[in-house]
């Protein structure tokens, strides 16, 4: 579950990277986009991502019934900031976590704070409200360091001290442009052979910037490394084997 309190925090980018990572891992997955208006994730994965409008009961069922389904797919949900409250209300009311755990599904919250005080406070509320979910604080250095009064707040300090973290690799302008192309599939791009020059065969759709292929590949490697580190570190609580590593 990729979440943040406010929009434009980098949720869809992170969700997208997670999806592409799992695609390249050869697994099957369920992909959900809860932003019925912007549909950012759906636009990137039009045939695989389901858009659900959490105001509609039928869509709530499509989302949570599927998420709790005992099957081996990975599940990535881009939780639109405006549906954050509704999403977690449903999570709680359906007793989803209990059901998921009984089917060996591990619920993981990736939370992206931005610079504002309420974003840190919301993170703490979320983390403490769902102690049975793994909670991972995402650092997105796009956000400048918050103002001093925010840094002195307890919520900020607690989130900074939270052990499980995910660092989004720094985005340079060329890579941002490349990623903004909705037709660029990261997984397809990563499957392309690398030339001896270090370049990949540059699809014409990449921005005309020197070494853009190298830059993009580097960024993807870094984020995939980070994903791999975090995902394989998610030890199940109850002694069952880790579904990803089998350990």
């Amino acid at each position: 579950m990729v979440t943040s309190l406010h929009g434009r925090a980098g949720k869809t980018l992170l969700a997208r990277a997670l999806v592409d990572y799992f695609i390249l891992s050869g697994g099957r997955l369920y992909i959900f986009d809860t932003d019925a208006v912007e549909r950012g994730l759906h636009v990137l994965f039009p045939s695989a991502a389901h858009v659900v409008d959490l105001a509609i009961v039928r869509d709530q069922m499509a989302l949570f019934d599927t998420l709790a389904n005992p099957s081996s797919e990975m599940r990535v949900v881009d939780v639109a900031h405006h549906s954050l409250t509704k999403f977690f209300e449903l999570l709680r009311n359906t007793d989803f976590i209990l059901e998921a755990q009984s089917h060996d599904i591990i619920p993981v919250i990736f939370y992206i704070p931005d610079g504002k005080a309420d974003s840190f406070e919301a993170g703490i509320v979320l983390r403490d409200g769902f102690p049975d979910c793994r909670f991972i604080v995402v650092e997105n250095d796009f956000f400048k360091e918050p103002k001093r009064n925010v840094r002195e707040g307890s919520a900020y300090k607690e989130l900074r001290a939270h052990k499980q973290r995910f660092v989004m690799p720094k985005l340079v302008e060329g890579v941002v442009d490349a990623l903004e192309d909705r037709n660029l599939s990261i997984s397809d791009f990563m499957r392309q052979p690398i030339l001896s020059s270090g370049e990949t065969l540059v699809p014409s759709r990449l921005p005309d910037i020197p070494d853009i292929g190298v830059e993009l590949r580097g960024w993807v490697f870094r984020i995939f490394q980070e994903i791999h580190r975090v995902i394989t570190g998610l030890a199940p609580n109850d002694g069952h084997p880790n579904p990803i590593t089998g350990a």
Binding site: V57, R58, M61, D65, A68, N93, T94, D95, F96
Partner: protein
Amino acid sequence: MKPVVILVGADKGGVGKTTIARTLLDYLAARNTSARAFDSEFPRGALKRFHPNVTEIVDLETAADQIKVIDTLSSSDVKVSVVDVRAGLLLDTLKTFAEVGFFDLVNAGEFNFILFHVLGPSIASLEEIAEIRPYNDGRDYLLVKNFINETSFFEWNPELRKRYSKLAKEAVEVTITKLNEMAFEHAELAGVPFSAFVANKTMDGQPANNSLVLRGYVRSWMNQVTSEYDRIGLIDRLSDRGVTSRAA
């Protein structure tokens, strides 16, 4: 414990009378109180489908079935009898019970009696309250506002609201919040008690395939209903322990 009759009735159909009866049976079971039920939607029944093992279909307009209900009150091992009265027959049923001497026995302390009157939003409900009150002097009279379909109960009309307050003075109000329609429909289709639907079980205890989300809606709703029944001290009312709070 004295035998107790819980009558669940309404002046018209569609107000959720059988739904209320179903919640009662679930609540009593959860509180370890054995209950049996009489479903007077003769011949097909409505309640029996959901609680088949404890429910009998009866035709309360016939003497034979009136006897079946009342005469077995003392002899049955199960002390609590829930009677789901056919829509529109509440007043007639009360008159019949009076005629056969049931209320005399209640007054003499042989039985307890609790009436769940499920209200509709119309004026006819108010008139029915007025007619029913004499049968309920000093007994547990529960006025149930069942919020299906965003109904409002007289709130919008000051004149009706005043009339209702006067009539409802000695009654106890029970508020049942709205249950999402799709959740209700699926629970109905499943044909099991609400508690079984929530537990995702079929009638014979096997795993069912009910929607997690819809189960959540029914669970939250049942929690609200349970707190209401707890709040009015329903279990205490069964055994007459809530005597002093009759006018509460």
